[in-house]
């Protein structure tokens, strides 16, 4: 618990310093210490995660790298039951937090070794391990793949 708080503070500190740089993800709602704005460096400080999967909007399988959504929520000591993910085009989806604990859902910055850019599906894309679980090959999960992610609101 102590360690978690320290890590959280370090993360917050880093975020504060990076304020001048481009914020790419904002987290609001039931998290420790109020709203947080994170730049790329702060997100890259999280334990890296990778997965290979196909998507419904592209052909073939792709290699995604980023961090686990549950690692981010744990670091921020998030308390809610669901997260509303909001994209740059104001597309908003409510995702149950249980998804992130049942499946290794990642927030990807890179696809096939190339950074995701804002004029494609970047900078951040919520990716489910679709190929590893039959249950995820469902239209009710497909709409949770939010790209151009900019805000997470924990409820």
């Amino acid at each position: 618990m102590w360690k978690l708080m320290v890590t959280g503070l370090v993360l917050l500190g880093a975020a504060g310093v990076a304020q001048a740089e481009a914020t790419i993800l904002e987290i609001t709602g039931r998290i420790a210490g109020g709203d947080v704005k994170l730049d790329r460096a702060a997100l890259e400080a999280l334990p890296p995660a990778a997965l290979v999967t196909s998507t419904v909007v592209t052909d073939g399988q792709h290699h995604f790298t980023g961090f686990l959504m549950r690692d981010l929520l744990n670091h921020l000591d998030a308390k809610g039951d669901s997260v509303t993910a909001v994209a740059l085009n104001d597309y908003a989806v409510e995702i149950p937090i249980s998804d992130f604990y049942e499946y290794d859902v990642i927030v990807a910055f890179d696809m096939d070794g190339q950074p995701l850019t804002r004029d494609d599906k970047g900078p951040l894309w919520i990716v489910y391990p679709r190929d590893d679980h039959q249950a995820l090959q469902d239209i009710r999960f497909d709409y949770r793949w939010v790209w151009q992610l900019q805000l997470l609101d924990v409820q």
């Binding site: 419904v56 909007v57 052909d59 740059l88 085009n89 597309y91 004029d119 599906k121 497909d142 790209w147």
Partner: protein, 590 residues
Amino acid sequence: MTRSRHAILGLALPLTAVLVFAVLLTFSMLRMFEMQNAMRVGAEQNMLWVLHQSEVAALRMIETAALAELGEADQDDLALRLDILASRVALLNDGPQRRFVERIGMEDDLDRLQATLASVKTIIDDFTQGDGPRLHNTLDPFSRIFGRAANKAMIAEWDDMGGRLEASRGQLHQIIASLIGIMIAGGTLAVMLVMALRESRQRNRMLLRERDFSGLLISSSGEGILAVNREIKCTVWNDAIAGMIGKPAEQVVGRTLSQVAGFFETAPVRIGIEQALAGITSKMAYQPLFAPDRERPLYVDLRFYPMWNDVGIVGAILFMHDASDRHAAKQREAQIRDRLEELVTERTRDLDSALQRERSAADLYRNFAAMVSHQFRTPLAVADSALQRLLRRGPRADPGEVAERAGRARSAIAGLTRLVESTLDAARLDAGQIGARRVNCDMSKIVRTACDRLGDAAPDRHIEVSYPLLGQPITYCDPALAEQVLENLLSNANKYAPPNTSVSVVLRIDDEWLHCEVSNSGPPLSEKDREQIFERNHRGANSVGVAGTGIGLFMARTLARMQGGDVTLQAANEGTTFRISLPRFGEKTT
């Protein structure tokens, strides 16, 4: 015929039903899998939403451009909106979306928009408020093209969905039809099952009734019935067999047969049961069955049968029938038959001997002339020679000599007379007209008379006679016939003995028989002669140049046998010995 047709129908119908059931089930399942797959694919198409979002992005871009023209939005806002719009175009160019755009025939429009994005980007990079109208004009086609594409997407997707729904409806119809078929087949099977169950229950009832009836039959049968399992333990034991063995069923059922009674340990019964357990039926009659409380054994007929079920032999069954009465009757019958056989044998023997006598008599008559010529010649020769000498001597003969010669002639004639009488008597005897004139007589006298007579006929021949040292040579015979036999043999010996050799007569006695052996020296008889010498009219190889008819030995043997005796040729290396055997005593009177 109808029965076999019924059986085929009874088998074919359920088989057909099962087949129809399986085929329809497989068919409907395949159809359902197809539908499931179709539903999954359909759920992933959402182009209308994608195009709508694209149109929104374009409109937001135009809105931001208008604000920028008024100075209420800066370059960063424009860059963000452009990036969002560019990301939409990029999304539409990704695999599945691009293919859909091609399907609705708007790929050229998309490519044009993609190209336009670059010029939009150059305007925004150096944006001034004066660039507003130019930016408007450049952005104009985006919302228009996206709107049109959304329109087409809607139509395509609805067409698609309509087609899919129609296909699904068709598949559902097929599935429903299959299900109806399955229900019919299942119903048929269920009905048949119920019928089969009813039939089987009815059969079971009948079987039970039959079993009860069999049980009744077994228990009330007068025949003993027992059954054993493969371990030869008793499983069935009815009242009849309980009576025969003397043990009630309670003491027997469940126990090994060998523990029940010694009867089941006897070899035939044990083997019978073993064979029945090996599948061989057998039966045996009149087996003695002893029971402790019975004085005499029962005689029982046994029948062993194997007991089968579907799998194999499960035991053996033994039927035991009390055949004591039949056995006793059979014993009596056998005794009567034996007695009858004895009687028949006895009668046959009597008849045989009568026939034999008849034949002998007939033979005698037939050969009477021959016998007369042979037997009568010697005494006639003796009488003739005595009378001739008397005639030759004439008056010179003194009274003593006359008396002596006449006496000799008379003696020979008396012998002839005796011979005639005894022959006739013997013939009558053979014919069964008179009894045997056998008496006890002294053989030594007969020997002496016969020897004297040979001495008269052949004065040159020396005769040696020896009598037994102990006991009287008494014999039970007809003296005339005995004398005749002896004379025959002596005459024979005299004929075949070389000159200047003697003829011997030896009398011997034992417990039963008197033997008189007449021997002469000379070469032994050939084997062939020995065999045939007693045959009528047979003349030996050495008889050439010797007077004779070949009847002497036949006569001697026949006459001896008529008196219960025999004449045999004794084995010898040298000379010839005939033996007369006569019984010493008369037939025992009981």
